[in-house]
């Protein structure tokens, strides 16, 4: 799979983690997108490559969402001296998981400071080769982001709705509502209830956005690439937490 194809696959996925959007922050961040049934096999060498350009002293990790191979990934990180953090605190490495609608060839790519990072090394070349030769297609997407961030465990206040590249609405999550939008490419309906927002109908072909779980925490978003639509939970963001 070449890189362009890789990101076409990603854009069709429900990006549950708030990671993808944050890569454009201009900070020295780096995010790994890894498709494969056994991410733990390749995870650590890929992480070491990322640490050449981002947070070399990083040592605190956290799973933003349950991961099917969580215990294996955790074991690898702990073996290498990383420490797991839970609860509201500052972390260096956020790991998330997303299931793609369709299986894709095992592969990986990096996004650094908002752009695809064309990293080339003997290590990466051999990992790529091994992944493609010996592993079946997979719908497991592991997202690992190296960036100093605070774990957001509180609920968001509002939801920002954007279509065709511009803001359409920002609505409180406290009010139950249903809305429909027409975009240049089709239409999409959303529902806000119980402090959560989800897509309730979409004209897109894959319906990946429709099958995404509801979102409620600041930074979480659902993207419908075919409809040029995304929605994102807004603030409040925190500097730190006590208690």
């Amino acid at each position: 799979m070449d890189r362009r194809r890789f990101f076409q696959t990603l854009l069709a996925a429900p990006l549950l983690a708030p990671l993808f959007g944050e890569t454009g922050s201009g900070l020295k961040d780096c995010t790994l997108y890894l498709i494969g049934e056994n991410p733990h096999v390749f995870f650590y060498p890929l992480l070491e490559e990322m640490q050449k350009v981002a947070l070399p002293q990083a040592k605190y990790f956290h799973f933003l969402h349950p991961h099917p191979q969580q215990h294996l990934l955790r074991g690898i990180l702990l073996t290498h001296g990383w420490q797991e953090k839970v609860g509201p605190t500052q972390i260096d490495l956020a790991i998330s998981f997303c299931r793609l609608k369709n299986k894709a060839a095992p592969s990986f790519s990096f996004v650094k400071s908002g752009q695809i990072w064309d990293a080339r090394s003997w290590t990466l070349r051999s990992i790529w080769k091994e992944m493609n030769q010996n592993n079946p297609p997979s719908s497991c997407l592991t997202i690992a982001s190296l960036m100093g961030r605070t774990i957001e465990t509180h609920k968001g206040e509002s939801i920002l709705l954007c279509a065709d590249g511009r803001k359409r609405e920002e609505l409180s999550l406290k009010e139950e509502r249903r809305l429909s939008f027409s975009t240049h490419k089709g239409h999409i309906s959303i529902q806000i209830a119980g402090g959560e927002a989800r897509v309730s109908d979409s004209s897109c072909r894959g319906k990946v956005c429709l099958y995404s779980p509801p979102i409620s925490h600041p930074g979480e978003r659902i993207i419908c690439a075919p409809n040029h639509f995304f929605m994102e939970i807004q603030g409040p963001s925190l500097d730190t937490a006590i208690g």
């Binding site: 609860g87 509201p88 605190t89 500052q90 465990t153 509180h154 609920k155 409040p236 963001s237 925190l238 500097d239 730190t240 937490a241 006590i242 208690g243």
Partner: protein, 275 residues
Amino acid sequence: MCELKVFCSPSQFKAAKEAVNAVFTDIEAHFSPESTDYSSEIVLSLYQKAYTLYLDSGGKFDISVGALSKIWGFHDQSYRVPTLEELDGAMRSVGMDKIQIRDGRLILAPGVQLDWGGIAKGYGLDLAANILKTKGLSNGFVNAGGDLYCWGTNPDGGSWRIGIKHPRKSGFSGILSISDEGAATTGDYQRFFIENGTRYHHVFDPHSGFPAKGKQSVTVVGPEATFCDALSTALFVSAHPGSILDKYPRYSAIIIDSDGNLTTLGKPVIFVSVE
């Protein structure tokens, strides 16, 4: 372990980190339960503050509860409900009236054991923040877990936004916006054990010898983290927190009672409840 955020060069940050570590190493050495230092300047200085809080709180804040912590097993995590005889014995050595200052040292009556846990962390935060400010670091915070001191502005140029942990759920009960202030939380969820369906926590009422009742958490905000720390304990224990806080007009309190109801007391503070 502390979380430290300041805006400076890498070399300044290294020096800041070392300074904060040195402060808390010092605090640990002087105020840990095993410490027998009753005469150093830092101990006498903090004792004076603790005694002020003891008087102002009608004895609800008391650093002489070390014997209670021991019989309830909180000192070594051997949690258990003590017998009434054990409780009576421990209560005979509780009360700051059993401590005197003579010839530049604290003189403890027989059996009295100090527990600085309700004030030492806040004191360390004030010391650390003062050192960092004198080093020219104009924006930052030091977060020692339950307690924090912040100064200047956050990276967005506004007040620091501090999440206050919910005492019963994951996430936060609300968000504080503060600057140049300390904040400290005392809660029944921080250290506790459950026996026969009853929750026994580590914040003792010095007048009864039992864990204080009626609240899930108390957060205090104000200019000195030392007083935030001690006041959060005093208000947690007291059935009349407003009367204590009246003596500290520059401090605010956010109280969640045992039914989960949230109230604020004292000086107005920007606090946005999450629910």
